[in-house]
Subunit: 283 residues, 2 copies
Protein backbone atom coordinates (compact mmCIF):
# COMPACT_ATOMS: atom_id res chain seq x y z
CA UNK A 1 0.00 0.00 0.00
CA UNK A 2 1.17 3.47 -0.84
CA UNK A 3 -0.41 6.91 -0.40
CA UNK A 4 0.47 9.55 -2.97
CA UNK A 5 -0.32 12.33 -0.54
CA UNK A 6 -1.05 12.17 3.18
CA UNK A 7 -2.67 15.16 4.89
CA UNK A 8 -2.05 15.40 8.64
CA UNK A 9 -4.63 17.65 10.29
CA UNK A 10 -2.92 18.71 13.51
CA UNK A 11 0.83 18.23 13.73
CA UNK A 12 1.17 17.53 17.46
CA UNK A 13 2.82 14.59 19.19
CA UNK A 14 0.52 12.00 17.61
CA UNK A 15 0.14 13.60 14.16
CA UNK A 16 3.89 14.19 13.84
CA UNK A 17 4.75 10.69 15.06
CA UNK A 18 2.31 9.29 12.51
CA UNK A 19 3.97 11.37 9.77
CA UNK A 20 7.43 10.08 10.74
CA UNK A 21 6.19 6.50 10.91
CA UNK A 22 4.56 6.72 7.45
CA UNK A 23 7.78 8.17 6.06
CA UNK A 24 10.08 5.67 7.81
CA UNK A 25 8.07 2.78 6.42
CA UNK A 26 7.98 4.20 2.91
CA UNK A 27 4.20 4.42 2.79
CA UNK A 28 4.22 7.90 1.24
CA UNK A 29 6.64 10.42 -0.16
CA UNK A 30 4.42 13.42 0.30
CA UNK A 31 3.18 14.24 3.78
CA UNK A 32 1.63 17.64 4.28
CA UNK A 33 0.54 19.22 7.54
CA UNK A 34 -2.28 21.54 8.54
CA UNK A 35 -2.44 23.60 11.69
CA UNK A 36 -3.15 27.07 13.02
CA UNK A 37 0.38 27.84 14.17
CA UNK A 38 2.39 28.60 11.02
CA UNK A 39 5.73 28.93 12.88
CA UNK A 40 5.29 25.43 14.31
CA UNK A 41 4.41 24.00 10.90
CA UNK A 42 7.51 25.67 9.41
CA UNK A 43 9.69 24.15 12.15
CA UNK A 44 8.13 20.70 11.65
CA UNK A 45 8.90 21.01 7.92
CA UNK A 46 12.49 22.08 8.60
CA UNK A 47 12.84 19.06 10.90
CA UNK A 48 11.62 16.89 7.96
CA UNK A 49 8.67 15.63 10.00
CA UNK A 50 6.36 16.80 7.21
CA UNK A 51 7.28 17.67 3.62
CA UNK A 52 5.06 20.72 3.28
CA UNK A 53 2.39 22.59 5.19
CA UNK A 54 -0.45 25.04 4.87
CA UNK A 55 -2.77 26.89 7.18
CA UNK A 56 -5.45 26.44 4.53
CA UNK A 57 -7.41 23.25 5.04
CA UNK A 58 -8.44 23.02 1.37
CA UNK A 59 -4.80 23.23 0.20
CA UNK A 60 -3.74 20.48 2.54
CA UNK A 61 -6.58 18.10 1.68
CA UNK A 62 -6.43 18.77 -2.07
CA UNK A 63 -5.55 15.52 -3.87
CA UNK A 64 -4.74 13.77 -0.56
CA UNK A 65 -5.63 10.09 -0.66
CA UNK A 66 -5.28 9.78 3.14
CA UNK A 67 -6.52 12.49 5.51
CA UNK A 68 -5.62 12.02 9.16
CA UNK A 69 -7.49 13.81 11.94
CA UNK A 70 -4.92 14.29 14.71
CA UNK A 71 -6.28 17.40 16.43
CA UNK A 72 -8.08 17.35 19.82
CA UNK A 73 -11.29 15.31 19.43
CA UNK A 74 -13.46 18.38 20.06
CA UNK A 75 -12.49 19.72 16.63
CA UNK A 76 -13.34 16.60 14.59
CA UNK A 77 -16.93 17.53 13.76
CA UNK A 78 -15.96 20.97 12.54
CA UNK A 79 -13.14 19.56 10.40
CA UNK A 80 -15.34 16.78 8.99
CA UNK A 81 -17.80 19.50 7.93
CA UNK A 82 -15.14 21.68 6.33
CA UNK A 83 -12.91 19.26 4.41
CA UNK A 84 -13.47 18.57 0.73
CA UNK A 85 -11.73 15.24 0.14
CA UNK A 86 -11.09 13.99 -3.37
CA UNK A 87 -13.20 11.06 -4.55
CA UNK A 88 -12.04 7.76 -2.97
CA UNK A 89 -9.99 9.54 -0.30
CA UNK A 90 -9.78 7.77 3.04
CA UNK A 91 -10.21 9.74 6.27
CA UNK A 92 -9.04 8.31 9.60
CA UNK A 93 -8.95 9.88 13.03
CA UNK A 94 -6.48 9.11 15.80
CA UNK A 95 -8.69 10.26 18.66
CA UNK A 96 -9.13 8.72 22.10
CA UNK A 97 -12.94 8.80 22.09
CA UNK A 98 -15.13 6.99 19.61
CA UNK A 99 -18.77 6.20 20.45
CA UNK A 100 -21.28 8.58 18.90
CA UNK A 101 -18.49 10.74 17.54
CA UNK A 102 -17.59 8.01 15.03
CA UNK A 103 -21.19 7.86 13.83
CA UNK A 104 -21.35 11.65 13.46
CA UNK A 105 -18.11 11.83 11.47
CA UNK A 106 -19.24 8.90 9.32
CA UNK A 107 -22.51 10.65 8.64
CA UNK A 108 -20.82 13.94 7.74
CA UNK A 109 -18.41 12.21 5.33
CA UNK A 110 -21.06 9.96 3.72
CA UNK A 111 -20.72 10.19 -0.07
CA UNK A 112 -17.62 12.39 0.33
CA UNK A 113 -14.94 9.97 1.57
CA UNK A 114 -14.35 6.64 3.27
CA UNK A 115 -13.91 6.85 7.03
CA UNK A 116 -12.35 4.51 9.59
CA UNK A 117 -12.04 5.40 13.29
CA UNK A 118 -8.68 4.52 14.81
CA UNK A 119 -7.29 4.85 18.32
CA UNK A 120 -3.61 4.01 18.61
CA UNK A 121 -2.77 3.37 22.28
CA UNK A 122 0.40 5.42 22.35
CA UNK A 123 1.49 8.84 23.39
CA UNK A 124 2.49 10.15 26.75
CA UNK A 125 2.02 13.26 28.80
CA UNK A 126 4.30 15.31 26.55
CA UNK A 127 2.72 17.22 23.72
CA UNK A 128 3.92 18.84 20.53
CA UNK A 129 5.75 17.66 17.43
CA UNK A 130 9.14 18.12 19.10
CA UNK A 131 8.44 14.97 21.11
CA UNK A 132 7.41 12.99 18.01
CA UNK A 133 8.88 9.53 17.58
CA UNK A 134 8.79 7.55 14.36
CA UNK A 135 8.52 4.29 16.30
CA UNK A 136 5.69 5.44 18.57
CA UNK A 137 3.26 2.90 17.10
CA UNK A 138 5.73 0.05 16.91
CA UNK A 139 4.40 -2.78 19.13
CA UNK A 140 1.50 -0.54 20.16
CA UNK A 141 -2.13 -1.61 20.12
CA UNK A 142 -4.39 0.23 17.67
CA UNK A 143 -8.13 -0.07 18.24
CA UNK A 144 -10.20 0.19 15.08
CA UNK A 145 -13.93 0.91 15.41
CA UNK A 146 -15.72 -0.11 12.22
CA UNK A 147 -19.48 0.30 11.90
CA UNK A 148 -21.92 -1.58 9.63
CA UNK A 149 -21.31 1.20 7.06
CA UNK A 150 -17.52 0.86 6.99
CA UNK A 151 -16.16 -0.15 3.55
CA UNK A 152 -14.55 -3.60 3.93
CA UNK A 153 -11.78 -2.98 1.40
CA UNK A 154 -10.81 0.33 3.00
CA UNK A 155 -10.95 -1.23 6.47
CA UNK A 156 -8.50 -3.90 5.31
CA UNK A 157 -6.24 -1.25 3.81
CA UNK A 158 -6.13 0.74 7.06
CA UNK A 159 -5.48 -2.39 9.11
CA UNK A 160 -2.61 -3.26 6.78
CA UNK A 161 -1.26 0.27 7.17
CA UNK A 162 -1.17 -0.06 10.98
CA UNK A 163 0.46 -3.48 10.67
CA UNK A 164 3.12 -1.94 8.43
CA UNK A 165 3.80 0.63 11.17
CA UNK A 166 4.32 -2.22 13.64
CA UNK A 167 1.00 -1.85 15.48
CA UNK A 168 -1.30 -4.69 16.48
CA UNK A 169 -4.88 -3.95 15.44
CA UNK A 170 -8.08 -4.96 17.19
CA UNK A 171 -11.73 -4.18 16.40
CA UNK A 172 -14.15 -2.77 18.94
CA UNK A 173 -17.65 -1.39 18.68
CA UNK A 174 -17.29 2.41 19.07
CA UNK A 175 -19.48 2.52 22.20
CA UNK A 176 -17.75 -0.48 23.78
CA UNK A 177 -14.45 1.30 23.06
CA UNK A 178 -15.58 4.28 25.11
CA UNK A 179 -16.72 2.14 28.04
CA UNK A 180 -13.38 0.36 28.14
CA UNK A 181 -11.18 3.42 27.66
CA UNK A 182 -13.13 5.39 30.20
CA UNK A 183 -12.14 2.76 32.75
CA UNK A 184 -8.52 2.22 31.78
CA UNK A 185 -7.55 5.66 30.51
CA UNK A 186 -9.97 8.57 30.77
CA UNK A 187 -10.98 7.98 34.36
CA UNK A 188 -7.38 7.30 35.50
CA UNK A 189 -6.43 10.63 33.92
CA UNK A 190 -9.21 12.45 35.77
CA UNK A 191 -8.11 10.77 39.01
CA UNK A 192 -4.46 11.63 38.42
CA UNK A 193 -5.35 15.30 37.93
CA UNK A 194 -7.49 15.16 41.10
CA UNK A 195 -4.71 13.50 43.12
CA UNK A 196 -2.07 16.05 42.14
CA UNK A 197 -4.43 18.95 42.88
CA UNK A 198 -5.44 17.44 46.26
CA UNK A 199 -1.86 17.01 47.41
CA UNK A 200 -0.80 20.38 46.05
CA UNK A 201 -3.65 22.18 47.79
CA UNK A 202 -3.08 20.37 51.11
CA UNK A 203 0.68 20.96 51.21
CA UNK A 204 2.62 21.93 48.06
CA UNK A 205 5.97 21.42 49.81
CA UNK A 206 5.14 17.79 50.55
CA UNK A 207 5.73 16.93 46.91
CA UNK A 208 9.49 17.48 47.37
CA UNK A 209 9.44 14.41 49.63
CA UNK A 210 7.71 12.15 47.14
CA UNK A 211 9.18 9.01 45.62
CA UNK A 212 8.55 6.92 42.53
CA UNK A 213 5.08 5.75 43.62
CA UNK A 214 3.67 9.26 43.73
CA UNK A 215 5.52 10.39 40.65
CA UNK A 216 4.13 7.49 38.60
CA UNK A 217 0.59 8.21 39.80
CA UNK A 218 0.68 11.88 38.82
CA UNK A 219 2.63 11.51 35.57
CA UNK A 220 -0.56 11.69 33.50
CA UNK A 221 -1.67 14.75 35.53
CA UNK A 222 0.87 16.56 33.32
CA UNK A 223 -1.15 15.64 30.20
CA UNK A 224 -2.24 18.46 27.88
CA UNK A 225 -5.36 20.17 29.23
CA UNK A 226 -6.93 20.98 25.86
CA UNK A 227 -6.81 17.39 24.63
CA UNK A 228 -8.13 15.95 27.87
CA UNK A 229 -10.89 18.51 28.36
CA UNK A 230 -12.33 17.38 25.00
CA UNK A 231 -11.95 13.70 25.84
CA UNK A 232 -13.70 13.87 29.23
CA UNK A 233 -16.73 15.72 27.84
CA UNK A 234 -17.11 13.31 24.91
CA UNK A 235 -16.98 10.38 27.31
CA UNK A 236 -18.82 12.03 30.16
CA UNK A 237 -21.55 9.44 30.79
CA UNK A 238 -19.06 6.63 31.26
CA UNK A 239 -16.83 8.85 33.40
CA UNK A 240 -19.70 9.79 35.71
CA UNK A 241 -20.40 6.11 36.21
CA UNK A 242 -16.70 5.44 36.99
CA UNK A 243 -16.63 8.32 39.48
CA UNK A 244 -19.62 6.84 41.30
CA UNK A 245 -17.95 3.42 41.36
CA UNK A 246 -14.69 4.84 42.74
CA UNK A 247 -16.54 6.79 45.42
CA UNK A 248 -18.12 3.53 46.59
CA UNK A 249 -14.68 1.94 46.93
CA UNK A 250 -13.16 4.96 48.68
CA UNK A 251 -16.07 5.18 51.09
CA UNK A 252 -15.72 1.50 51.88
CA UNK A 253 -12.06 2.03 52.75
CA UNK A 254 -12.93 5.16 54.73
CA UNK A 255 -15.46 3.18 56.73
CA UNK A 256 -12.96 0.35 57.34
CA UNK A 257 -10.41 2.86 58.68
CA UNK A 258 -12.95 4.60 60.90
CA UNK A 259 -14.28 1.31 62.30
CA UNK A 260 -10.79 -0.25 62.65
CA UNK A 261 -11.76 -3.10 60.32
CA UNK A 262 -8.21 -4.25 59.78
CA UNK A 263 -9.08 -7.71 58.42
CA UNK A 264 -11.30 -6.10 55.79
CA UNK A 265 -8.56 -3.65 54.74
CA UNK A 266 -6.06 -6.51 54.61
CA UNK A 267 -8.42 -8.56 52.41
CA UNK A 268 -9.01 -5.57 50.13
CA UNK A 269 -5.30 -4.88 49.66
CA UNK A 270 -4.64 -8.60 49.28
CA UNK A 271 -7.25 -8.91 46.48
CA UNK A 272 -5.74 -5.95 44.72
CA UNK A 273 -2.23 -7.33 45.12
CA UNK A 274 -3.33 -10.68 43.67
CA UNK A 275 -5.14 -9.06 40.73
CA UNK A 276 -2.07 -6.93 39.99
CA UNK A 277 0.27 -9.93 40.15
CA UNK A 278 -1.97 -12.01 37.93
CA UNK A 279 -2.48 -9.33 35.29
CA UNK A 280 0.86 -7.54 35.21
CA UNK A 281 3.44 -9.83 36.78
CA UNK A 282 2.60 -13.40 35.87
CA UNK A 283 5.43 -15.69 36.93
Amino acid sequence: MYFKKVAIIGVGLIGASFALAIKNHGLSNHITGYGRNEEGLKDATNLSIIDSYSIDLDDVCDEADLIVLATPVGTFIDIAKRIKPKADAVVIDLGSVKGGLVLEIEDLLKGKAYYVGCHPIAGGHHSGFRYAKGDLFNNALCIITPTPNTDKRVLKQIEDMWSSLGAKTMHLDPFKHDEIYSLVSHFPHLLSYALLMTVYKEDPKSIEFSGKGFRDMVRIAGSPAQIWKDIVFYNKENLLQNITALKTEIEYLEDCLKQNKSDEIYQYFRSSQEIYQRLFNPT
Copy 2:
Protein backbone atom coordinates in the same frame (compact mmCIF):
# COMPACT_ATOMS: atom_id res chain seq x y z
CA MET B 1 32.02 3.72 61.76
CA TYR B 2 31.87 -0.03 62.10
CA PHE B 3 29.33 -2.36 63.71
CA LYS B 4 30.65 -5.58 65.16
CA LYS B 5 27.29 -7.25 64.82
CA VAL B 6 24.17 -6.05 63.00
CA ALA B 7 20.83 -7.72 63.78
CA ILE B 8 18.23 -7.42 61.03
CA ILE B 9 14.73 -8.04 62.41
CA GLY B 10 12.72 -8.99 59.32
CA VAL B 11 14.68 -10.06 56.25
CA GLY B 12 12.32 -8.80 53.54
CA LEU B 13 13.05 -6.49 50.63
CA ILE B 14 14.13 -3.58 52.84
CA GLY B 15 15.88 -5.58 55.58
CA ALA B 16 17.82 -7.68 53.07
CA SER B 17 18.75 -4.66 50.94
CA PHE B 18 20.00 -2.94 54.10
CA ALA B 19 22.07 -6.03 54.96
CA LEU B 20 23.63 -6.07 51.49
CA ALA B 21 24.33 -2.33 51.60
CA ILE B 22 26.02 -2.58 55.03
CA LYS B 23 28.14 -5.46 53.75
CA ASN B 24 29.00 -3.82 50.41
CA HIS B 25 30.19 -0.70 52.21
CA GLY B 26 32.23 -2.67 54.74
CA LEU B 27 30.27 -1.35 57.72
CA SER B 28 30.05 -4.77 59.37
CA ASN B 29 31.35 -8.30 58.95
CA HIS B 30 28.63 -9.97 60.92
CA ILE B 31 25.06 -9.50 59.87
CA THR B 32 22.49 -11.78 61.41
CA GLY B 33 18.83 -12.08 60.53
CA TYR B 34 15.68 -12.79 62.50
CA GLY B 35 12.38 -13.92 61.09
CA ARG B 36 9.61 -16.45 61.50
CA ASN B 37 10.24 -18.35 58.29
CA GLU B 38 13.34 -20.49 58.87
CA GLU B 39 13.49 -21.72 55.26
CA GLY B 40 13.61 -18.14 53.98
CA LEU B 41 16.34 -17.21 56.47
CA LYS B 42 18.35 -20.26 55.38
CA ASP B 43 18.01 -19.24 51.72
CA ALA B 44 19.00 -15.62 52.52
CA THR B 45 22.08 -16.98 54.32
CA ASN B 46 22.96 -19.25 51.39
CA LEU B 47 22.64 -16.22 49.09
CA SER B 48 25.12 -14.40 51.41
CA ILE B 49 22.59 -11.66 52.13
CA ILE B 50 23.05 -12.36 55.84
CA ASP B 51 25.89 -14.24 57.55
CA SER B 52 23.76 -16.12 60.07
CA TYR B 53 20.18 -16.32 61.28
CA SER B 54 17.98 -17.41 64.11
CA ILE B 55 14.28 -17.65 64.80
CA ASP B 56 15.10 -16.72 68.40
CA LEU B 57 15.00 -12.95 68.92
CA ASP B 58 17.36 -13.10 71.93
CA ASP B 59 20.00 -15.01 69.96
CA VAL B 60 19.91 -12.49 67.14
CA CYS B 61 20.07 -9.39 69.33
CA ASP B 62 22.70 -10.84 71.68
CA GLU B 63 25.84 -8.67 71.49
CA ALA B 64 24.45 -6.76 68.46
CA ASP B 65 25.56 -3.13 68.47
CA LEU B 66 23.00 -2.23 65.76
CA ILE B 67 19.48 -3.65 65.78
CA VAL B 68 17.36 -2.87 62.73
CA LEU B 69 13.56 -3.14 62.78
CA ALA B 70 12.59 -4.04 59.22
CA THR B 71 9.32 -5.91 59.78
CA PRO B 72 5.86 -4.44 59.04
CA VAL B 73 5.34 -1.41 61.31
CA GLY B 74 2.50 -3.13 63.19
CA THR B 75 5.07 -5.43 64.85
CA PHE B 76 7.45 -2.73 66.14
CA ILE B 77 5.86 -2.25 69.57
CA ASP B 78 5.88 -5.96 70.27
CA ILE B 79 9.52 -6.27 69.19
CA ALA B 80 10.58 -3.20 71.17
CA LYS B 81 9.03 -4.84 74.22
CA ARG B 82 10.72 -8.19 73.66
CA ILE B 83 14.30 -7.32 72.67
CA LYS B 84 17.08 -7.23 75.26
CA PRO B 85 19.75 -5.09 73.63
CA LYS B 86 23.24 -4.94 75.07
CA ALA B 87 24.25 -1.71 76.81
CA ASP B 88 25.00 1.06 74.27
CA ALA B 89 23.29 -0.82 71.41
CA VAL B 90 21.58 1.36 68.82
CA VAL B 91 18.11 0.44 67.54
CA ILE B 92 16.79 1.92 64.30
CA ASP B 93 13.60 1.19 62.42
CA LEU B 94 13.06 1.44 58.66
CA GLY B 95 9.30 1.90 58.82
CA SER B 96 7.09 4.14 56.70
CA VAL B 97 5.12 5.62 59.61
CA LYS B 98 6.61 7.60 62.44
CA GLY B 99 4.42 9.98 64.54
CA GLY B 100 3.36 8.54 67.87
CA LEU B 101 4.93 5.18 67.03
CA VAL B 102 8.42 6.74 67.34
CA LEU B 103 7.55 8.09 70.79
CA GLU B 104 6.21 4.71 71.90
CA ILE B 105 9.30 2.83 70.73
CA GLU B 106 11.53 5.45 72.32
CA ASP B 107 9.67 5.08 75.57
CA LEU B 108 9.89 1.28 75.53
CA LEU B 109 13.64 1.35 74.86
CA LYS B 110 14.40 4.11 77.41
CA GLY B 111 17.37 3.00 79.54
CA LYS B 112 17.77 -0.15 77.41
CA ALA B 113 19.17 1.18 74.10
CA TYR B 114 19.53 4.26 71.93
CA TYR B 115 16.84 4.67 69.29
CA VAL B 116 16.63 6.64 66.05
CA GLY B 117 13.62 6.49 63.70
CA CYS B 118 14.55 6.22 60.01
CA HIS B 119 12.46 6.07 56.84
CA PRO B 120 14.47 5.40 53.72
CA ILE B 121 12.38 6.41 50.67
CA ALA B 122 13.12 3.31 48.65
CA GLY B 123 11.50 0.03 47.87
CA GLY B 124 8.94 -0.85 45.29
CA HIS B 125 5.89 -3.00 44.99
CA HIS B 126 7.93 -6.20 45.10
CA SER B 127 8.49 -7.85 48.43
CA GLY B 128 10.87 -10.44 49.82
CA PHE B 129 14.64 -10.77 50.11
CA ARG B 130 14.93 -12.22 46.60
CA TYR B 131 14.32 -8.70 45.24
CA ALA B 132 16.94 -7.17 47.56
CA LYS B 133 19.44 -4.77 46.02
CA GLY B 134 22.63 -3.61 47.70
CA ASP B 135 22.33 -0.21 46.03
CA LEU B 136 18.69 0.37 46.99
CA PHE B 137 19.60 3.32 49.24
CA ASN B 138 22.15 4.84 46.92
CA ASN B 139 20.93 8.33 45.97
CA ALA B 140 17.77 7.72 47.97
CA LEU B 141 16.37 10.13 50.53
CA CYS B 142 16.32 8.90 54.13
CA ILE B 143 14.09 10.78 56.56
CA ILE B 144 15.32 10.73 60.16
CA THR B 145 12.87 11.66 62.90
CA PRO B 146 14.79 12.66 66.05
CA THR B 147 12.94 13.75 69.19
CA PRO B 148 14.18 15.94 72.06
CA ASN B 149 15.31 12.70 73.74
CA THR B 150 17.45 11.45 70.86
CA ASP B 151 21.14 11.11 71.74
CA LYS B 152 23.09 13.59 69.58
CA ARG B 153 26.17 11.41 69.17
CA VAL B 154 24.12 8.39 68.12
CA LEU B 155 22.03 10.56 65.76
CA LYS B 156 25.26 11.72 64.09
CA GLN B 157 26.48 8.12 63.84
CA ILE B 158 23.26 6.97 62.16
CA GLU B 159 23.31 9.93 59.76
CA ASP B 160 26.90 9.08 58.85
CA MET B 161 25.86 5.47 58.30
CA TRP B 162 23.16 6.49 55.80
CA SER B 163 25.61 8.82 54.06
CA SER B 164 28.05 5.91 53.76
CA LEU B 165 25.27 3.90 52.06
CA GLY B 166 24.83 6.74 49.55
CA ALA B 167 21.58 8.14 50.99
CA LYS B 168 20.80 11.79 51.54
CA THR B 169 19.43 12.36 55.05
CA MET B 170 16.89 14.91 56.21
CA HIS B 171 15.31 15.53 59.61
CA LEU B 172 11.57 15.78 60.15
CA ASP B 173 9.41 15.91 63.23
CA PRO B 174 7.77 12.45 63.50
CA PHE B 175 4.23 13.88 63.23
CA LYS B 176 5.12 16.18 60.34
CA HIS B 177 6.64 13.12 58.65
CA ASP B 178 3.30 11.34 58.84
CA GLU B 179 1.37 14.31 57.46
CA ILE B 180 3.71 14.56 54.50
CA TYR B 181 3.96 10.84 53.75
CA SER B 182 0.23 10.40 54.06
CA LEU B 183 -0.13 12.86 51.19
CA VAL B 184 2.67 11.67 48.94
CA SER B 185 2.74 7.96 49.68
CA HIS B 186 0.14 6.39 51.95
CA PHE B 187 -2.88 8.05 50.37
CA PRO B 188 -1.64 7.44 46.80
CA HIS B 189 -1.27 3.77 47.74
CA LEU B 190 -4.85 3.66 49.07
CA LEU B 191 -6.07 5.34 45.89
CA SER B 192 -4.12 2.99 43.65
CA TYR B 193 -5.68 -0.03 45.39
CA ALA B 194 -9.12 1.60 45.02
CA LEU B 195 -8.57 2.37 41.33
CA LEU B 196 -7.51 -1.15 40.44
CA MET B 197 -10.44 -2.64 42.38
CA THR B 198 -12.92 -0.20 40.75
CA VAL B 199 -11.80 -1.02 37.23
CA TYR B 200 -11.59 -4.74 37.95
CA LYS B 201 -15.09 -4.85 39.42
CA GLU B 202 -16.60 -2.77 36.58
CA ASP B 203 -14.99 -4.80 33.77
CA PRO B 204 -12.00 -7.08 34.43
CA LYS B 205 -11.45 -7.63 30.71
CA SER B 206 -10.95 -3.90 30.14
CA ILE B 207 -7.53 -4.12 31.78
CA GLU B 208 -6.20 -6.03 28.74
CA PHE B 209 -6.70 -2.81 26.77
CA SER B 210 -4.75 -0.60 29.14
CA GLY B 211 -1.59 1.29 28.33
CA LYS B 212 1.29 2.79 30.31
CA GLY B 213 -0.83 5.46 32.02
CA PHE B 214 -3.06 2.91 33.73
CA ARG B 215 -0.22 0.55 34.46
CA ASP B 216 1.79 3.27 36.19
CA MET B 217 -1.21 4.29 38.28
CA VAL B 218 -1.90 0.78 39.56
CA ARG B 219 1.71 -0.34 39.99
CA ILE B 220 1.59 0.36 43.74
CA ALA B 221 -1.75 -1.49 43.95
CA GLY B 222 0.49 -4.57 43.77
CA SER B 223 2.20 -3.59 47.04
CA PRO B 224 2.28 -6.15 49.87
CA ALA B 225 -1.03 -6.13 51.75
CA GLN B 226 0.40 -6.91 55.19
CA ILE B 227 2.85 -4.01 55.13
CA TRP B 228 0.29 -1.52 53.83
CA LYS B 229 -2.49 -2.59 56.15
CA ASP B 230 -0.24 -1.69 59.10
CA ILE B 231 0.79 1.63 57.54
CA VAL B 232 -2.72 2.87 56.81
CA PHE B 233 -3.97 2.15 60.34
CA TYR B 234 -0.98 3.85 61.95
CA ASN B 235 -1.55 6.91 59.76
CA LYS B 236 -5.33 6.75 59.75
CA GLU B 237 -6.15 10.30 60.90
CA ASN B 238 -4.09 11.90 58.15
CA LEU B 239 -5.50 9.46 55.60
CA LEU B 240 -9.08 10.23 56.54
CA GLN B 241 -8.33 13.91 56.00
CA ASN B 242 -6.77 13.16 52.59
CA ILE B 243 -9.79 11.07 51.59
CA THR B 244 -12.11 13.98 52.43
CA ALA B 245 -9.92 16.36 50.43
CA LEU B 246 -9.90 14.07 47.38
CA LYS B 247 -13.66 13.61 47.54
CA THR B 248 -14.03 17.39 47.37
CA GLU B 249 -11.90 17.49 44.22
CA ILE B 250 -13.67 14.54 42.60
CA GLU B 251 -17.08 16.02 43.37
CA TYR B 252 -16.03 19.31 41.86
CA LEU B 253 -15.03 17.53 38.65
CA GLU B 254 -18.24 15.50 38.73
CA ASP B 255 -20.26 18.71 39.01
CA CYS B 256 -18.30 20.33 36.15
CA LEU B 257 -19.04 17.34 33.92
CA LYS B 258 -22.73 17.27 34.82
CA GLN B 259 -23.13 21.02 34.30
CA ASN B 260 -21.01 21.06 31.13
CA LYS B 261 -18.58 23.55 32.70
CA SER B 262 -15.88 23.04 30.10
CA ASP B 263 -13.91 26.20 30.90
CA GLU B 264 -13.66 25.11 34.54
CA ILE B 265 -12.47 21.62 33.60
CA TYR B 266 -9.95 23.13 31.21
CA GLN B 267 -8.63 25.46 33.94
CA TYR B 268 -8.43 22.57 36.40
CA PHE B 269 -6.46 20.36 34.02
CA ARG B 270 -4.32 23.34 33.01
CA SER B 271 -3.41 24.10 36.65
CA SER B 272 -2.49 20.48 37.19
CA GLN B 273 -0.44 20.39 33.99
CA GLU B 274 1.46 23.51 35.05
CA ILE B 275 2.12 22.20 38.56
CA TYR B 276 3.38 18.93 37.11
CA GLN B 277 5.67 20.68 34.64
CA ARG B 278 7.05 23.00 37.29
CA LEU B 279 7.71 20.27 39.85
CA PHE B 280 8.75 17.32 37.74
CA ASN B 281 9.82 18.65 34.34
CA PRO B 282 11.52 21.99 34.83
CA THR B 283 13.11 23.09 31.58
